[in-house]
Subunit: 329 residues, 2 copies
């Protein structure tokens, strides 16, 4: 920067201003500085900027897995909104392992991000303590809680599944099962199960709770096939099978003909997420659609406002959900 300021005949402070707050220098000075930057090949060092200004212009994002379209779409939306404002994003994945989130927060804090983006509202006590002590804005996404850590842009997984059960009951289904992978690292799946459980208890009080949980299997299509098989073996009487993710539901849908199961005639199937694939399988998958782009963009908007110490109107935004009815249910 000293080279640039010498070349441009101004002080280092003016170079700094010309680069980060161009409005504060005259157009002529700005042009001289820009010319000097080009001539010297200067690339400013944001680590030094961070240290001096106490702003890193980074955001830390923590998701269960980046190798799933649901979260990577969210990250893309957040990143696309933040990048033009000069923020870069760190990404960490918990791999659906309990405790990894706390570890990641611990590591990320060392980089002093200006904000955090988290998936879910359920965190360990220590995670919350760390985030609160850190004192920078946090946006939670992909779920709903009446007492969020800070900002919240999400929807109720519980109500979404309850709505799906309502849809099935309205279509005349009485014997429903839920099949998924439930474990502490994936609270969203647990909320969805709870929504199923409560809606069944509410709408079909005479029916037993039918659940198949294979907590040791990965979130992959093979597991969906296995869940379909296990559920029909355990509850052959069911007419509808509710999955907490399209990953399982589409796999089950694709495997059904081979197992001699007519969908939706013999068995109705529902998913969650409205993946690209959901509208391409036959029959089309009835599923829960989330406006992921809006969720990501809104989360980034709230974070930006907080990071700039602007007033934030609503600190909790419900982006809702939509039951996307296709032929599978």
């Amino acid at each position: 920067m000293a080279d640039v300021s010498a070349e441009a005949g101004v002080s280092a402070q003016t170079v700094s201003r010309a680069l980060s707050q161009p409005d504060l220098v005259t157009p002529e000075t700005r042009a001289r500085v820009e010319q000097a930057v080009r001539k010297t090949g200067y690339v400013r060092n944001l680590a030094a900027s961070h240290l001096a200004s106490n702003r890193s212009h980074t955001v830390a994002a923590i998701v269960p897995t980046i190798a799933s379209s649901v979260f990577s779409d969210t990250l893309r939306a957040v990143g696309d909104r933040l990048a033009p404002e000069g923020y870069q994003m760190f990404v960490g994945n918990t791999d659906y392992r309990e405790g990894r989130e706390e570890e990641l927060v611990g590591h990320f804090i060392q980089r002093r991000p200006d904000g955090f983006v988290m998936v879910g509202t359920s965190h360990t006590r220590e995670t919350r303590r760390l985030l609160e002590a850190y004192g920078r804005p946090v946006v939670e996404t992909w779920d709903w809680d009446d007492a969020p850590t800070d900002l919240l842009v999400g929807f109720s997984n519980r109500r979404a599944l309850a709505s799906m059960v309502e849809h099935l009951v309205a279509r005349g289904h009485r014997r429903l099962a839920f099949a998924g992978v439930l474990r502490p690292g994936d609270e969203r799946a647990i909320r969805r199960f709870e929504g199923f459980r409560d809606a069944v208890a509410d709408l079909l009080p005479d029916e037993p709770l039918r659940v198949v949980d294979l907590p040791d299997l990965p979130v992959a299509m093979d597991t969906g096939v296995e869940l379909l098989r296990a559920t029909l073996q355990r509850y052959p009487e069911i007419t509808a099978l509710v999955f907490p993710t399209d990953v399982f539901a589409t796999a089950a849908l694709l495997a059904a003909p081979g197992l001699g199961i007519d969908v939706p005639g013999r068995l109705a199937i529902t998913g969650f997420g409205d993946f690209d694939l959901a509208s391409h399988v036959h029959p089309g998958l009835t599923t829960v659609a989330i406006d992921v782009d809006r969720m990501g963009t809104t989360a980034a908007d709230l974070l930006l406002a907080r990071m700039r110490e602007q007033q934030v109107g609503e600190t909790a935004v419900d982006v809702g959900y939509r039951i996307e009815v296709r032929d599978s249910a």
Copy 2:
């Protein structure tokens, strides 16, 4: 850090050593420092560490899109290998737009990452200049080039598609078409097309080159259906259709029955990537499988060695590919 050193009764330098190179202090001192860290709630500031040591312990990764399992699996593999070594990863996506890569490199350099992970070997002149001037290790992935920028862990997209054509020809196919989305931001797709073109010219010299390119459409399943339709309209005589990605191939496979097309009887279909879905559709999709985990892990290994200024044996690693033969072709 001053608080910690006062609390532990040692100098700040010793606190620094206890945290970053624990072997250099006695076990007793280390314990006292750790105790003091806990008591004070100290979280070290890696921006300051970066500034003082000229090592950021970050790696910048640039991919076409993070919302695709191919690249997010790679990122996950790279990230999982680097995280335990204390490296965090910045991710940027070019959205398959030409020129975005150069822009991203320009931004990332300001953060002084210790290394770069790139997808592809083809970059603008300015991108290469920036990376070379920056002088830190760069790993290119997902393609092959005899004169890489620095390190290379990939495979030949061109040869992979040529192998697929060989497979089809060996099965008796003569009239083949290639259908995809070819544009400057996606060099991998172009290499795959070239592999198809050259293999057809080589093995089927009497056949014309049959290509359908819809460069303005997104890489999504809808486009796959559209490509299938357009290709059969233009080249009704074909018996095999080669796609440069499983996204298109699986969509075409799922749409075929509805269009009255029997796969593989009337038309053989092949993809690229061996997505989870490829083995779940019926018929199973014949496709090109890449060992993405190995590619990511090896890329991270080479990068780590270079970042630590260790000797790197092979600077170019070919992870190869495998034609995964299923029933679609």
